[in-house]
């Protein structure tokens, strides 16, 4: 482990590779170059899924997405996470991709991937071609004049909803980041996706004890039924009691540079009846301040409807369909 960390610390030209399902693509497109790849798969302690003393669960950074989604403890205690993972990529990719890598994947913005167009994320200062370009897939929340890219993960939308914590090891010691603080908004530094420092590695992700196994749903809306990134996705979890909703979590994917959560909406739902009109009001709170671009204005209305539908689905998780499609 220390060897690996030391290597990565030498310079940014050394990059950690685990599943390689995004990094290798980026290298083939000459978007990311690396003098050397450091294979971190050999760190055994990062592979495990283990129970924590407080009733939570620790997901090793090197555990694959597939192992995580199908792990009995994840399936029984954090089914929202399992569903979200299985809504992403393909079986082949999930078999290779790791949990740490999922957090580290980069945007799928067309312009980021085309080295012959301007992109502030790829080449700081070169401009954002997406703002005036084909931006159907781009963000509506938290954008800046420098970048409107979205973070593509499904898994992270569930992790955000579940209040996960990211455990980090680095040359200056270990530290923890709440999930909400891990990914960044683009601001004027869109080349930075997250708050990991040079030389740091994700070692694991902690899930708190509260997993919402009774009332949860993940809904993913996209241009085909599998193997496409979300235009809008929603992770919803509820705790219900006799008097209504006692706890609510709603996180959106496909709309911003990071998983999007608005705690005001969740607070609003506390104590309310789990009915459509309240979900609509919560959706309005979440989408306040959404800014559309030429081709993605539909995302605002779509997100609103998706939030409402997914809240309804979360009340009866059996209505969920494979591929996180809308309920029948």
């Amino acid at each position: 482990m220390q060897d690996a960390l030391a290597k990565i610390n030498i310079s940014q030209k050394h990059r950690a590779v685990a599943g390689g399902t995004n990094l290798i693509d980026l290298m083939k497109y000459f978007i990311t170059d690396a003098a050397e790849l450091v294979d971190v798969n050999t760190i055994p302690q990062h592979h495990a899924i283990e129970e924590l003393p407080d009733g939570g669960l620790r997901l090793g950074a090197l555990t694959t997405n597939a192992e995580t989604a199908y792990h009995p403890l994840v399936e029984s205690r954090y089914p929202l996470l399992s569903k979200a993972i299985l809504a992403g990529a393909s079986a082949q990719i999930r078999n290779m991709a790791t949990n740490g890598g999922n957090l580290m994947q980069r945007t799928r913005c067309y312009y980021f991937y085309d080295v012959n167009t301007p992109c502030n994320k790829r080449t700081p200062g070169s401009g954002c071609a997406a703002i005036g370009g084909y931006n159907r897939t781009m963000a509506i929340m938290g954008t800046s004049e420098h970048c409107i890219a979205v973070f593509p993960s499904d898994m992270c939308v569930a992790l955000a909803a579940l209040n996960a914590v990211v455990n980090i090891e680095g040359p200056d010691g270990d530290r923890q980041l709440p999930f909400a603080d891990f990914h960044r908004l683009p601001g004027d530094t869109p080349h930075l996706d997250n708050n990991l420092k040079d030389g740091e590695l994700i070692s694991s992700i902690d899930l708190p004890a509260e997993g919402f196994p009774q009332h949860y749903s993940y809904l993913k809306l996209r241009d085909r039924n599998s193997y496409a990134f979300a235009l809008v996705s929603v992770a919803t979890a509820f705790e219900l009691c006799d008097t209504g909703i006692s706890k609510a979590r709603i996180a959106l994917g496909g709309v911003a540079h990071r998983p999007w959560r608005v705690t005001e909406a969740e607070v609003f739902l506390n104590g309310k009846d789990p009915v459509r009109v309240n979900f609509e009001a919560a959706a309005d709170i979440i989408l306040q301040g959404a800014v559309p671009f030429e081709h993605n204005a539909f995302k605002i209305e779509l997100a609103k409807r998706a939030i409402v539908r997914n809240c309804m689905m979360a009340l009866d998780p059996d209505t969920q369909l494979p591929g996180a499609q809308p309920s029948h």
Partner: protein
């Protein structure tokens, strides 16, 4: 185990039996070798360098950094390329539209984004690809236009030329359209927009050129025409035809993209000849977007009808993109009057030249485009008339082709309508839009008609009886995955009265008997007829030989007085008189008996008829009322395509067309950014084609159709017809489900919010 032994074939004839494809075993086990898998010794690898600007000139190319990389052999570009006659003369391939074909490295001019401007050759693909990024190109840029919608005012008529033989211009007007349309009590109009599509076959375009010395080449190429590529290479590089052999035994899909020689062939051959080495050039997936594509189009329709639903006025106009250097055309607006016998018509087809590569035929070119507009306008008319859409088609059923005033050689479209509707359960449709549901989902039924011309081109085949008394047949034709090997073997086996295992059909090699490019759904009719002709010639030779035998019982027999069955030639008058093929070979001093024959379309007879395959598709969609998401839950396509040689491979063709229909209507689009003049989603992750989860119940019906005119076999071809009707049927079903008429393909679900 070879597949033939596993197939229990129930007697004769083999034609008409659902025989599994004979090369399936090789394909699924990976034993089948494709053009990029012929691993000859001392192979070099070329990687194409593409322009990063859309229009302008190359000022300089600095290759020094690239050439410093170990393993790099050289970089070819316009400044150092060999001088070829091709660059100063006109040479066009078999499928070239009017204009001047694009010639890579001709000069420093850049005509489109992604244009191949150099070839880097190295000792490995990876080295070549990496070193290519170190080549520094300096350009001057010029203004460009790539946007069809923004340049529609520049539309003009296409140039004429040889291409109009297979792609006739719009039919002449009849009556007075404007007057009739004005007077029609019921009218439907539409504006239809289709985006660019790229073929994206699974197999990448690859050429492996083996340098045999002294200007002799063996070329393994991904193509739909081995002879087309042979002629192209010989002409472009000034080689003798016989010194150029093009081999393409397996093709991993092409869909039209292999109809013309693509630039990897040019580069591979050029480098092999210059370096006197074996050279492979593979285009990567990104580069699969740097040559032909289905052009974007804008179409306008205006149909008028009487109160009882008789269509009296038909107007269909299309504007399509082409390149600045060739006038690529499609048959988009010729179909409406073939289907509906209106007395007043007006059809127009114009082009807008833009700074893009020339478009290229892509499965059901023109037909799948035009029929969407025609059949969705008919659907709209049906709703206005409050007549069932199927009933409206029957009211306007064309017994003959009014556009050319000819009868059809055969036309069982009515059976397609009725059998398709029955199988689908069309009678369960409730007429009003938004009137059927299933939970959160709005349910819609839609139908549409398909048509595709049944063509035949001249082709040759060679047949011989081997020393073992077995049959060998060959043709240069490719098998692009359609089942060509299997159906040709079936035809030959029946002709000669042999079991399938005694027949060997070899193909995909330019040294074999001439075949045209494989496209347009004409291969079965062209090459199949040639196989039949070659077998017939062989039969005559067998009879002739038999007559020369001592005491031959066949001395007085004419060819129609014998049959060929059970590995024998048998006298019809006296079945106890026969001779086996092995005895004939023995009598021939144990030498092979050979024949080669041509099959030509019978032009004078065919001229009197319109020849077309027809289809009808019925589609059920479910649209989530709140979220707009669309699923094609069921579809039936009924096809009338003459004789079906092999119902299994033919069904696969139609199923493929139906999956593609879902792709065309709901998924597939090459996204352009006209500020940069380039495509933005040049990979399979972002260029969406359907996934398994998008495909639900698909059914195919082949209706009986006998055609004694179209060709010797009575076949019409099934490659395109599966994609003709269903895209429009999907759009019509979405209208029925939602009441929203979306005339832009692909339909995005958010348009239904």
């Amino acid at each position: 185990m070879p597949p033939m032994e596993q197939q229990k074939l129930s007697g004769r004839p083999l034609v008409g039996q659902a025989i599994s494809r004979l090369e399936g075993y090789e394909k699924v086990t990976g034993a089948a070798r494709y053009s990029g898998e012929f691993n000859v010794k001392d192979l070099l690898y070329g990687y194409v360098i593409n322009s990063t600007i859309t229009k302008g000139k190359i000022i300089s190319i600095d290759t020094s950094k690239a050439e410093a990389i170990p393993g790099v052999i050289t970089v070819f570009h316009h400044g150092n390329r060999p001088s070829l006659a091709w660059f100063s003369m006109q040479y066009a391939d078999m499928d070239a539209p009017p204009g001047t074909p694009f010639r890579p490295l001709q000069n420093g001019e850049v005509k489109y984004n992604g244009q191949p401007i150099a070839l880097l050759v190295a000792d490995s693909f990876e080295t070549a690809r990496y070193a290519a990024t170190l080549v520094k190109v300096v350009y001057t840029t010029e203004e460009f236009q790539t946007d069809l919608i923004g340049n529609m005012a520049k539309a003009r008529a296409p140039k004429g030329g040889l291409a109009t033989f297979l792609k006739p211009p719009p039919p002449k007007p009849f009556g007075d359209f404007e007057k009739a349309f004005e007077a029609a009590p019921f009218k439907a109009t539409g504006k239809f927009i289709h985006g660019t599509e790229h073929h994206n076959p699974m197999e990448l375009f690859t050429t492996t050129t083996v340098y045999n010395g002294k200007g002799k080449l063996t070329i393994y190429d991904k193509t739909q025409g081995t002879v087309n590529c042979q002629l192209y290479v010989a002409n472009v590089f000034g080689l003798h035809f016989k010194d150029v052999r093009v081999i393409s035994p397996y093709v991993g899909g092409a869909f039209g993209s292999g109809l013309r020689p693509q630039h990897q062939l040019f580069f591979s051959v050029m480098a092999a000849l210059e370096l006197k080495r074996n050279v492979r050039v593979t285009l990567d997936r990104h580069q699969m977007f740097t040559f032909g594509h289905r052009p974007p189009t804008v179409q306008f329709t205006r149909f008028g009808a009487t109160v009882d639903g008789k269509v009296t006025a038909l107007n269909h106009e299309a504007i399509a993109e082409t390149s600045r250097f060739e006038d690529y055309t499609e048959v988009v607006v010729n179909w409406a009057h073939m289907l509906y016998p209106a007395q007043n018509t007006l059809f127009k087809y114009n082009l807008v030249p833009l700074d893009v590569f020339s478009p290229l035929d892509m499965r059901a070119p023109g037909g799948s485009t035009g029929l969407h507009a025609i059949e969705s306008t008919m659907d709209e008319l049906a709703y206005q008339l409050k007549i069932d859409p199927l009933e409206l088609r029957l009211i306007n059923y064309a017994e003959r082709d009014e556009s050319t005033d000819r009868p059809y050689s055969s036309k069982e479209l009515r059976k397609c309508y009725l059998q398709g509707a029955e199988q689908f359960g069309w009678n369960k449709r409730s007429p009003e839009p938004r009137s059927m549901r299933n939970g959160h989902k709005l349910v819609g039924y839609g139908m549409a008609t398909g048509i595709w011309e049944a063509m035949q081109l001249p082709a040759r085949a060679a047949a011989s009886i081997t020393t073992e008394g077995k049959l060998k047949v060959n043709s240069a034709v490719t098998d692009i995955g359609t089942g060509t090997l299997t159906v040709m073997s079936q035809i030959a086996a029946d002709e000669m009265g042999l079991p399938l295992e005694d027949v060997s059909f070899t193909y995909g090699d330019s040294k074999m008997a001439f075949a045209p490019i494989q496209g347009g759904s004409f291969t079965i009719s062209s090459v199949g007829s040639a196989v039949k002709a070659a077998c017939n010639a062989l039969k005559k030779k067998i009879l002739k030989k038999a007559k020369t035998m001592d005491n031959s019982p066949f001395k007085s027999h004419k060819i129609d007085e014998v049959v060929f069955a059970d590995r024998k030639m048998i006298s019809i008058a006296n079945p106890s008189v026969f001779i086996s093929y092995s005895d004939i070979i023995a009598a021939n001093d144990h030498k092979v008996i050979k024949s080669v024959n041509f099959a030509m379309p019978k032009a004078l007879k065919l001229k009197k008829y319109s020849r077309a395959a027809h289809s009808a598709s019925f589609v059920e969609v479910e649209v989530d009322e709140e979220l707009g998401t669309i699923n094609v839950t069921r579809a039936v396509t009924a096809v009338a395509a003459g004789k079906i040689i092999n119902p299994k491979t033919a069904k696969s063709q139609i199923l493929g067309g139906m999956v593609w229909s879902i792709s065309k209507a709901l998924r597939e689009e090459t996204i352009s950014d006209h500020r940069f003049g380039k495509y933005m989603n040049m990979n399979i992750a972002e260029y969406h084609i359907p996934v398994h989860a998008d495909i639900h119940d698909l059914d195919v019906i082949f209706v009986e159709e006998q055609d004694d005119i179209v060709n010797e076999l009575g076949t019409k071809g099934v490659g395109e017809i599966g994609l003709a009707a269903m895209p429009s049927a999907i759009a019509n079903a979405i209208y029925h489900a939602t009441g929203k008429r979306i005339n832009q393909f692909p339909i995005h679900f958010d348009q239904l919010l």
